[in-house]
């Protein structure tokens, strides 16, 4: 009987160890955020968000940094991996835009991305990991 109990305890211990390893591994090697699948916390125009950042950068940073935001406006600059809306919001894309879109300068567009901050040199709000939402 004593032997049986010992085996049972070691099996349970083994399961616990395996579970800890799996949980630990998943924690350490967790996936990156998937901005494309996240719901936007804010949805506003390029002019609105850039006005908030230029008027009160500290408050705007607290509000938007690292958040998924949806920004709409008119394309003023278009490159294979990035675009600028209304000259005041810059969005970097992970995939090439040329293959997937028929957008061009002056197109109205809505993009979703993660806000990484305000660039005072260019006076532009910057987003990364952008996707086109509309």
């Amino acid at each position: 009987m004593g032997k049986n109990r010992k085996t049972r305890i070691s099996i349970i211990a083994l399961i616990i160890v395996v579970l800890i390893v799996i949980i630990g591994y998943n924690y350490i090697y967790q996936d990156h955020r998937n901005i494309e699948k996240e719901k936007a916390t804010f949805s506003l125009s390029a002019d609105e968000i850039s006005a908030e950042f230029s008027k009160d950068p500290d408050t705007a940073e607290k509000k938007y940094l690292n958040k998924t935001v949806e920004i709409y406006g008119t394309i003023t600059e278009l490159n294979p991996m990035d675009m600028t809306l209304n000259n005041n919001v810059y969005g970097a894309f992970n995939i090439s835009l040329t293959a997937t879109t028929s957008y061009h300068i002056n197109s109205k567009i809505k993009i979703k991305g993660r806000c990484i901050g305000y660039d005072d040199l260019l006076e532009q709000v910057k987003l990364d990991q952008c996707t086109i939402s509309d």
Binding site: Y27, I28, Y29, Q30, D31, H32, R33, S54, E61, K62, L65, N66, N79, M81, D82, Y90, A92, R114, I116, G117, Y118, D119, D120, L121, L122, E123, Q124, K126, D128
Partner: protein
């Protein structure tokens, strides 16, 4: 008002005129603080802004710290929360001058220049001297600048906890690569 003043000083400071400004929004800055035989501690950023005044070699760059991407998501989170504290210090900047710079010197071939200036990161500013940079003017008329330097984590008030001290190097190699277009 504050902003206007800031921009005025910035532009006067850089002495920018429309003709002499070269700019990029897509510069690359990468750093590595890996220790051999441990997981790499490495990140890169591909949306770095850099401006150069081609008349006098004045050079400014701005990095939005949250844009540094790591392979490991948890490492990225720890970097932002515990080391760079990017909620408090979302920007890193470098302002300086490329020594004895002139457009006439540039050619398609890379040449070595030295850069002096101040690097601000994590709320601390430190003078960097004689940072080596390779500069050339490519066939599309872009000024290409690349190089690297070592930064010391303690200089920027970044504390590396004891538990991971042997896994993160205190001397961090920072590499930069910009292709600046005439504005």
């Amino acid at each position: 008002m504050k902003k206007t003043l800031f921009l005025m000083t910035l532009f006067i400071g850089l002495g920018l005129s429309a003709q002499s400004k070269y700019l990029t929004k897509k510069g690359t800055v990468a750093f590595e603080a890996s220790v051999p035989s441990f997981e790499e501690v490495k990140a890169s950023h591909n949306s770095v802004t850099a401006i150069i005044n081609s008349e006098n070699g004045e050079f400014a760059t701005l990095v939005l710290v949250k844009g540094f991407r790591f392979k490991n998501a948890l490492m990225e989170e720890h970097f932002n929360e515990n080391y760079a504290e990017s909620d408090l210090y979302p920007k890193a900047t470098f302002k300086g001058k490329i020594l004895s710079f002139s457009m006439d010197k540039l050619s398609a071939k890379k040449q070595l220049f030295l850069i002096n200036g101040q690097l601000t990161f994590h709320g601390k500013t430190k003078q960097l001297d004689n940072v080596k940079a390779n500069i050339n003017l490519n066939e599309d008329g872009l000024i290409e600048i690349s190089g690297f330097f070592l930064a010391n984590a303690t200089d920027y008030n970044i504390k590396i906890p004891k538990v991971v001290k042997n896994k993160i190097a205190n001397d961090i190699e920072v590499a930069f690569d910009f292709s600046l277009k005439k504005k």
